[in-house]
Amino acid sequence: MNAAATQATAPARAALLAALAVLALLFMIPIIGVVLSSLKGTTEIVAGRLWSVTTGFTLENFAEVLGQRRIYVYLLNTLLVTVPASSVSIALGTLAGYVFAKLPFRGASPVFIVVVAGMFFPAQVLLVPLFRMFLFMRLLNTLWPMIIVHTALGVPICTLLTRNFFAAVPNTLREAAILDGASELQVLLRVILPVSLPALAVLATLQFTWIWNDFLWPLIFTQSDNRRTIMLGIVSMKGQYSVAWGVQGAMSLLATVPTLFVFLRFQRYFIHGMTMGAVKG
């Protein structure tokens, strides 16, 4: 690039950067607002001093939320649903993904399409039949329906991503291991999985975030307070703190911390994984 061109574009670049910065600030306003609210008392907020960054800071809202026994029940329930459902769905997806990637068979395509299509349908198409199924199994108002449904609904994305990832692993690796006398399961566990850790990281992040943030299934399947997960829990706690804005802000932030932590930890994989799943889907 010559000097004249650089001179001509410098103001343009600066303008672009300024526009970006303004837009980014607009995008951040909602989040900044919640963070500020969680650090301020109700009177401060109602008096219109939410956006003042100099006065009225307090940690009382967090003390209030963390002093509630219910919040720990919600968090524990959410973990008891999220961890098993994430890990089992990833395990199941890995098994199916291996077959579709490395042991293709006549008629595999339609089966694969039916499996992957599952991630596109609104959950509403399953609500009534699943409600009745778990009513008959006498499992309503336990954590089981959420664990089972999230596991089943995780199969499509886990199968899709593992299949795409495994397909990129050279077939010769599998063939060499088979010649050495390994079984298909040993090939999967000892040859394919060790080189597929990024895909598993992506899936763990996606599944953890989706299940943690879920609101619909606990709404359908639970009735009593001590079975609620965190997202449903903070909605029901809003009644108790209907005008305590700061406490509501603190609850929202606390409920977001685990997924935010996972996101920041796996950010690179996460964004890549979203696009990988979407573009290949």
Partner: protein
Amino acid sequence: MGRSLWWWRIALLALPLGVYGAFVVFPLLSSFAYSATDWNGFARDFNVLGIGNFRALARDALFAGAMKNTVIWTAAAIILPNGMGFLLALVLERRVHGASIFKSIFYLPVCLSAVVVGQIWIWIYRPDWGVLNTMLGALGLPQGQRAWLAEPGTALYAIIAAWTWQQTGLSMVIYLSGLTNVPHDLLEAAQLDGARYWGRLRYVVLPMLKPATIVVVALSVINSLKGFDIVYIMTGGGPFHASDTLAMLMYDESFKRYRMGYGAAISVVLFLITLAVITIYFRQLRKLEELTL
């Protein structure tokens, strides 16, 4: 060898396909059976109505309203987040200072739950100390202030704005990944005058982004049809059903009014629309040979 391969395929597929079949495919198909009944959610008995529920849907003003809102939502979801995501991707693909920070900021809302996003935007729209009304007041436009979520004329659009905020980052990263296939010098505007840049964008870059566009449009439609959580949190479909979507109405009929048969009929309609959308989507992708099955 062939025989033992088949044994392995069946052994490895049995569990995933079994779980998926029992808790996704089977209930999905049985929705059709429930849609022909007047089951109330708890009773042992129910009557078989045949297509009675669908006849009733055709005359139901609430269903027509929810359908209209879903169409508006879908159209807005195709244009707004994808348009913004596309522009952001174009800008951030070029070596802007701090591009990765900007990407993270625009992507952050995607990670938030609908519950938290809804909560945040309820506050923005609050009539008393909400940011929006405060800003309108500060700009000297007090006549523009209103109870955004409580007025039938604005509730749906207020939710769509929140939705746009959350979804833009997703479109952005999909377009960014699409742009990685475009040679970098084709995107470099710095050495080009304006006209040549726009011509290149129009005739070279846009066609190369066709796969990404198909993906974001399909995702927008599919996610709009799923639109429930954020509506439930922000308005519950109100006021007076002004912001009902199909998914919201389905929940209301099934779990508020305990008309599960009727709710199942709505879910069958949702299923058929989604099926049509993903059929077109898979066809388009296959045409582009993006999907190698």
